[in-house]
């Protein structure tokens, strides 16, 4: 069990990959400028900073991420420095990193995607392009506060009015909440009614008054009249959106690739004891 946890620890993977690379490139012994030491003091400082921002210590995974970002910044910064850019100001350090990233990105942006590229991208990331499920419903805000008995009475009288054929628009509290919502995605319903209410809509039967549902405003009766399931649109109808996301992914990949290439030429020495690493 413990061994399995260790095996799944990303930091361990990172260290193993690092070790393999170190051995592989061992013949080209990295100069001092290609040696990055992650000391215990540095890691403590990263953890302290995290704690100051989030009022809790970082998880093991987060700490590994902090160390990773530090190494990433440091490598690109040193590469920039080697090109004669920047010295010791952190704003500049960022700028240097940004410049190197822009250079890699420009390379990536020159490629125009083909339909096959875009279709493959949609297939690989269907959730990013799926049109959300929509729901059409009416709602009555029956009560905003009161005792359980008050609310039960209000619900009962509203229900009996509905059964008697009353116009639902005339029942309940007159607020600015829409009494009728036409074909709206659930996340947009949540913007008006809150997450809690939107979450309960999914399980309601179609064609009958149901509830009560609770929102931050009070207690509602709801009649869902139609649902449209989420569907994956045709490429033609979302081409611009797919092209945008594809391009972003290309940029990201270009950055990762150029970093990976540089990373291989560095020796990273983790002196600090990081959680999840086997004792040395």
């Amino acid at each position: 069990m413990r061994f399995r946890n260790i095996v799944r620890e990303p930091l361990l993977h990172f260290l193993l990959i690092g070790l393999a690379l170190f051995v592989y490139y061992g013949r080209v012994a990295p100069s001092d400028n290609h040696r990055i030491v992650v000391s215990q003091a540095l890691v403590d400082d990263l953890a302290r900073q995290f704690q100051a921002t989030w009022s809790r210590p970082p998880t093991d995974q987060e700490l590994a991420g902090l160390v990773d970002t530090y190494i990433h910044d440091e490598i690109l910064y040193r590469e920039g420095q080697a090109l004669g850019l920047g010295r010791d100001d952190v704003v500049i350090k960022r700028r240097v990193r940004q410049k190197l990233e822009v250079m890699s990105e420009e390379e990536a942006a020159r490629t125009e995607p083909s339909d096959a590229d875009l279709a493959a991208y949609v297939n690989a990331h269907p959730d990013s392009f799926r049109k959300p499920a929509t729901v059409t419903f009416e709602q009555i805000l029956v009560a905003t506060k009161g005792s359980g008995a008050d609310i039960a009475r209000a619900l009962a009288s509203t229900r009996s009015a509905l059964e008697g054929g009353a116009d639902p628009g005339t029942l309940g509290q007159a607020t600015l909440l829409p009494s009728h919502v036409e074909g709206s995605a659930l996340d947009l319903v949540a913007r008006d009614f809150g997450e809690q209410f939107a979450g309960q809509l999914e399980s309601l039967p179609v064609g009958q008054w149901a509830g009560p549902l609770t929102s931050s405003f009070g207690v509602h009766l709801v009649r869902v009249s139609a649902r449209r399931p989420s569907l994956l649109p045709s490429l033609d109808s979302v081409r611009a959106l797919v092209a945008r996301e594809w391009e972003n992914a290309q940029r990201k990949r270009a950055l990762e690739e150029s970093y990976r290439r540089l990373r291989q030429t560095y020796a990273v020495v983790i002196e600090a004891k990081l959680p999840g690493t086997p004792p040395r």
């Binding site: 921002t53 116009d167 628009g169 600015l176 909440l177 009494s179």
Partner: protein, 644 residues
């Protein structure tokens, strides 16, 4: 996130900020309920309804790294990341903190400063066009040198150019600005998703004579094809708003497009924002000026991070809620504030003075709609106290004292020695632009701004609807076709009432709903301003709806709602207040011969101010010169009454 780096970055940026201060001192810096379900038909039931049926919430004023006063002091997020953040994605802040909005915005205007648009980005990219200019080469090399001193020097170079109002890229302005402007317009087109997230192309024209703020954001109704036919007008071109209007007219004539401008921060204009005289000629404003101003500037941004502009305690001594997020020490120049400047700086007073001008000129020069927005310089539109990422990148959340103590206004002492300092802790976590529209599209949102059917909030997503008319009754308030009745028999916010039937006074149908994730409502007020027969202006505040069983006192004022804020825990409870308030109110003292306006102010119950959240989260000391809790609010555009 790389906290190690961010701490040092804040320290580094501190110096730059100081320089930014020199710059700013020496120059100009920078548902409606759809109709009734009727006869139980609920598929496409209202094809004939043409009126706006819901509110969309957005920000019309956001800066990214492309604004030089943001990009040169640590902002690295560009337009694409700004749009991704606003539409609900998680991004990394400039200091590396993962950040996300609890609820996405419906629309966003990126309004980067026109003055040397994208300079910091071009330096970062070692842009060849930049390096062609000797000045560009020098500032580039200074920044690349990387020392704090050199960065400060670089910023000073730009500050000097701004101060002298001399574009350092004279002769190559187009070659410098065009590629960046096209990137900005391209990003807007890329992220515009009708029905879900609207992007509006815009920029900020940063006029500030002697450091007095006359800034305007310019918003295009059009797409990239038209917006690309011009380059943003800058302070280098002119600092007179009348020239901006000429530029706007020329744009419309050239492209067949449409454009409007939104001024902001009259509170930092030292009396220039709603002045009685024109800026250049210094002659009294006339009918022609009034017409042009209202043609091009239908909306004013009344609340934002740099203070609230509704009114001032000295102007509204009887208003118990006037003293709110006040920035009244001076402007970006060295001159401290004089009391006589205040009437020409605040919204309510401008509305009142506008009535007097209308009587005199026949046209009201200050008959504008009002919105809120952030003016954040981080690429992150954050307007709520519990998720406030500060005014600039160096002031993002941290325990560094800079987040509270940085001086924003008054870095150079006033010549007469008066206190003119305003600190970062006084920055307001605000605001939101709320628009009534039929759909979330660029055209529908721009059109709502143009017809002034808009309101401001100080950060919450309150929904407020008001209709004014002469034959409404209290019964109309409960009608299921409330909105249709409102539009048919009256006018919405931004509208005008005239020709009252004999003996009738204006009545108002008002509904307010709190933010679904926010604080309950304390009260709804109607604020009336009028011009008496002797030409004197007045204002009166009416409490018209409130929560609980409170009884108004002899003075008509409803007692305070109470305060549930636990300062130590930075928490509050909705045990007080009401989730919605609604009322019909008729003006009890209407005189059909007198000009008047009526607007609605909705107050939330007290909630912790952002500084209180900071004290809890970072364990820092609560500042004593700002309140621990505040009452967030919404202000609607007025409904005006004119005798004919």
């Amino acid at each position: 996130m790389d906290g190690h780096v961010s701490r040092r970055m804040v320290a580094g940026s501190r110096f730059l900020l100081l320089v930014a201060g020199v710059l700013v001192n020496s120059s100009a810096s920078a548902q409606d309920i759809p109709g009734p379900p009727g006869k139980a038909v609920h598929y496409s039931p209202y094809p004939a309804k043409r009126f706006p049926n819901r509110v969309y919430f957005g920000d019309t004023h956001l800066h990214t790294a492309y604004s030089t006063d943001a990009g040169m002091v640590g902002a690295i997020l560009g337009p694409e990341q700004a749009y991704r953040f606003a539409r609900g994605e998680e991004v990394k802040s400039n200091s590396g903190i993962p950040v996300r909005l609890q609820r996405p915005l419906d629309f966003l205007v990126i309004s980067d400063h026109a003055e040397n648009l994208g300079l910091a980005t071009m330096i970062a990219e070692s842009n060849p066009e930049l390096l062609k200019s000797a000045w560009g080469r020098k500032i580039h090399d200074l920044v690349k040198l990387g020392t704090i001193e050199a960065s400060g020097q670089a910023f000073n170079m730009w500050a000097q150019a701004m101060h002298d109002r001399k574009d350092p890229f004279e002769g190559q302005e187009r070659a410098m600005a065009e590629p960046i402007w096209k990137r900005i317009t391209a990003a807007a087109e890329k992220y515009n998703e009708p029905g879900r997230f609207t992007t509006i192309i815009g920029f900020e024209w940063t006029s500030g004579p002697n450091g007095n703020n006359l800034h305007r954001n310019v918003l295009f109704r059009d797409g990239k094809d038209r917006a690309d036919q011009v380059l943003p007008l800058s302070l280098y071109d002119t600092q007179d708003p009348e020239d901006l209007w000429k530029w706007m007219a020329a744009y419309e004539q050239k492209t067949g497009g449409k454009v409007l401008a939104i001024p902001h921060n009259g509170n930092l204009s030292n009396g220039l924002m709603f002045d009685d005289v024109t800026l250049t000629a210094q002659k009294p404003i006339d009918r022609d000026y009034a017409e042009r101003r209202m043609r091009w500037e239908p909306v004013y941004e009344t609340t934002q991070m740099k203070g609230d502009g509704e009114t001032h305690p000295a102007l509204s001594p009887n208003d118990d809620f006037a003293n709110f997020e006040r920035w009244d020490k001076g402007s970006f120049g060295p001159q401290a504030k004089d009391k006589e400047m205040l009437p020409r700086e605040y919204t309510r007073e401008a509305f009142k003075r506008g009535l007097a001008y209308e009587a005199k000129l026949g046209v009201n020069p200050f008959k504008f709609g009002i919105i809120g927005s952030t003016d954040s310089h981080t690429g992150l539109s954050t307007a709520t106290a519990d998720n406030f990422f500060g005014k600039i990148a160096a002031l993002e959340p941290s325990d560094d004292p800079v987040r509270f103590d940085e001086v924003i206004v008054g870095r150079v002492a006033s010549p007469d020695g008066r206190d003119n300092k305003i600190f970062a802790r006084q920055t307001s976590a605000s605001g939101i632009a709320a628009v009534w529209a039929r759909e979330n599209t660029r055209e529908a949102i721009w059109d709502a701004l143009a017809r002034k059917e808009v309101y401001a909030t100080t950060g919450s997503r309150l929904v407020v609807r008001v209709f004014g008319g002469f034959d409404f009754t209290a019964k109309d308030l409960e009608r299921s076709d409330f909105a249709e009745q409102g539009y048919t028999r009256g006018v919405p916010m931004g509208g005008n009432l005239e020709r009252p039937p004999s003996g009738k006074a204006p009545g108002f149908l008002i509904r307010a709903l709190r933010d679904p994730d926010g604080a309950n409502l304390d009260r709804v007020q109607v604020i009336k301003g009028w011009l008496d027969a002797a030409g004197k202006t007045h204002e009166q505040i009416f409490d018209v709806a409130w929560s609980g069983n409170r009884k108004p006192g002899k003075d008509g004022k409803v007692p305070p709602v109470g305060n549930t804020v636990n300062v130590k825990e930075a928490s509050y409870s909705n045990a007080i207040g009401a989730p919605y308030l609604t009322t019909y109110w008729k003006d009890p003292s209407f005189d059909p011969k007198l000009r008047a306006f009526y607007y609605v102010r909705v107050l939330e119950i007290p909630t912790p101010r952002w500084t209180t959240y900071d004290a809890k989260i970072f364990g820092v000391t609560l500042p004593t010169d700002v309140p621990a809790s505040i009452q967030n609010r919404a202000y609607t555009t007025p409904i005006w009454y004119s005798p004919v």
